[in-house]
Amino acid sequence: MVTPLTFVGDEKALMQALAAGHPGAAAVFYDSHASHVQRTLRSVLGPDEDIPDMLQEVFIRALDRITELREVERVRAWLTSIAIFVARAHIRQRTRRRWLWQFSPERISPKMIDQPATEVRQALREVYALLDEMPVNERMAFVSRFIEGMTLLDGAVACSTSLATFKRRLSRSEKRFLSGAAKRPSLAHWLEDGTRWTQQKQI
């Protein structure tokens, strides 16, 4: 008879146990970082019913590559970059499906979780509809910098790109976001009334 072993130990021991394939360690690893990864996926995709699948995918990829993690204290940043990679693949897949299934629009729209529409939820939908119109790499740059609040350097690392490329993408995404938001009155009403940005949009 074979039964799983429970893992007990600190973060460093946890990484070693994961690398050694310790089954109990996977649960501890997941419980420690799932909320962070889930938050990152949500920031990138908005409310989306595929998030549980991607959450699982991120952790499976992390387990597969655990030996590549050199600094234990950077585990969250490392997981963020995997989450962004997985979310990007998901968006690209969705875009391909959208193209293939263009005659069945109800089948290709992002699977937003349907809830009673409050003003905030409506605005969130608008924000993510706007982000859906952006090229995926620019979207990643925008989300990393402004929604996840990363520094430029951390954002570049998370998006697996150079700082210069990240800055270029960010700059383009800002312009796209501002121009898109200006065409959506519900966003203007919700997002920080009276800021210079909204004033700029109203001009």
Binding site: M1, V2, T3, P4, L5, T6, V8, D10, E11, A17, A20, G21, H22, P23, G24, A26, A27, Y30, D31, A34, S35, Q38, R39, R42, S43, G46, P47, I51, P52, D53, L55, Q56, F59, I60, L63, D64, R76, V120, R121, A123, L124, V127, R145, F146, I147, E148, G149, M150, T151, D154, E174, F177, L178, W190, L191, E192, T195, R196, W197, T198
Partner: protein
């Protein structure tokens, strides 16, 4: 700074806050947890990435022709794998292997080595490399047959209580009795080196040799036995039936938390809480918390803090109590109190970053904005890119 950028930061903060206010997070995490752990349990390339199986195979087939030699090299460097039982099911590191019934349980390793666990014996393969494996013999009789190879390329270790048996190519019989901490070794072929804290020098044992060792101190009752006796008396005094007691402990040992909690319930949870160790209480508390039995979890964790004050587990229990107050009861003031307690008791503890972030969030949700701001300043200074950094920025921007 470009004012547009400042405003976009503020917009991003608002979006992050709106996302946080959505209520699916814990459900999503729970759903994915089950699937993830199932995938880990039945871990194989096909189980993990079913959708990619076909294209991966195509790509791999092309590469194989060119990289055959390289593949053999990698295979030689890959960790050895093993199979358990007569049915030869794939073995996993860390799993307990013990025979059920009168037949021994065999383990077959990919490089040709074999281990046979006799009835009532119990072992785990803790680690494997291309050169060998590390095996923990928890109790009982084990027959070992390590495939011959160059001594420099073989590294097999057997651990049994305080003893360590280092092996190259050899065959031997090992028996370990955990209560008396005694080891019996009978060599058939080759040579092993035995080390233990109670041995002044390592003992070398060659073919035909036998060795009987015990690291048990001379005192009639050692501290572990005393502890067991005390526990047995306590168990008896609160009327806990023996088998039930053993069951919740066994389930905990096997990592089957929900079943452990159920067995503890059947045995009388309050009584169990009086005899369980700090670590066991923490595990039971977590099992209750993850099973959404917040009241039960809080009771277990409070007993832990009463019985084991100033322990690491007590501090971790404070953190868990904070989570229960925050997530289950939305009692943000109480949650803040527990997170503060954790930070006070474990200022450099492994949950420090999370505790600080959660404390800040609890203060904010409790409406204590000056305190939330003070915590946000601390958090932003210590973890400028941490998971709560965006929330800290939002709080500080007000």
């Amino acid at each position: 700074m470009d004012p547009t950028k400042t405003d976009l930061n503020s917009v991003g903060g608002s979006i992050a806050m709106a996302l946080q206010a959505e209520t699916h997070a814990s459900a999503e995490i729970r759903v994915a947890r089950g699937s993830f752990l199932d995938a880990v349990a039945s871990r194989s390339p096909a189980a993990v990435h079913p959708a990619r199986r076909f294209p991966l195979r195509l790509a791999f087939a092309g590469t194989l022709v060119v990289a055959g030699g390289l593949g053999v090299f990698i295979w030689m460097k890959a960790p050895i794998s093993f199979e358990v039982g007569v049915a030869r099911t794939k073995g996993r590191l860390g799993d307990v292997v013990e025979p059920q019934g009168a037949d021994p349980e065999p383990l077959h390793f990919s490089e040709g080595s074999k281990i046979q666990v006799a009835p009532h014996g119990r072992l785990r393969v803790l680690a494997a490399s291309s050169k060998g494996a590390r095996v923990l013999v928890e109790r009982g009789d084990v027959d070992v047959d390590i495939a011959h190879a160059d001594k420099r390329t073989k590294r097999w270790n057997f651990e049994a209580g305080p003893f360590e048996v280092r092996v190259t190519g050899t065959r031997f019989h090992l028996f370990f009795e955990p209560q008396s901490q005694s080891l019996h070794l009978a060599m058939r072929e080759g040579q092993v080196v035995v080390t233990a804290p109670c041995l002044e020098v390592p003992r070398v044992l060659s073919a035909g040799g036998r060795l009987d060792l015990s690291c048990q101190p001379a005192e009639p009752i050692n501290s572990a036995m005393m502890e067991t006796a005390v526990e047995a008396r306590r168990t008896e005094s609160i009327g806990l039936p023996g088998p039930a007691k053993a069951r919740w402990k066994d389930f905990l040992g096997m990592g089957r938390m929900a079943e452990a909690l159920r067995a503890a319930d059947q045995a009388g949870l309050e009584g169990v809480c009086q005899v369980a160790t700090a670590k066991e209480l923490l595990q039971l508390g977590d099992a209750a918390r993850l099973g959404h039995r917040g009241i039960k979890a809080a009771m277990i964790l409070r007993i832990l803090r009463q019985r084991f004050p100033r322990s690491d587990e007590a501090a971790t229990a404070a953190f868990a109590l904070g989570r229960i107050a925050f997530e289950d009861r939305r009692s943000y003031g109480e949650a803040a109190g527990y997170f503060s307690t954790y930070l006070l008791e474990e200022p450099q503890g492994p949950l420090m970053g999370d505790a600080l972030g959660r404390l800040m969030e609890s203060r904010q949700k409790a409406g204590d904005f000056p305190a939330a701001r003070a915590e946000a300043e601390k958090y932003a200074r210590r973890f400028p890119t941490g998971p709560y950094a965006d929330l800290a920025r939002v709080i500080l921007s007000r």
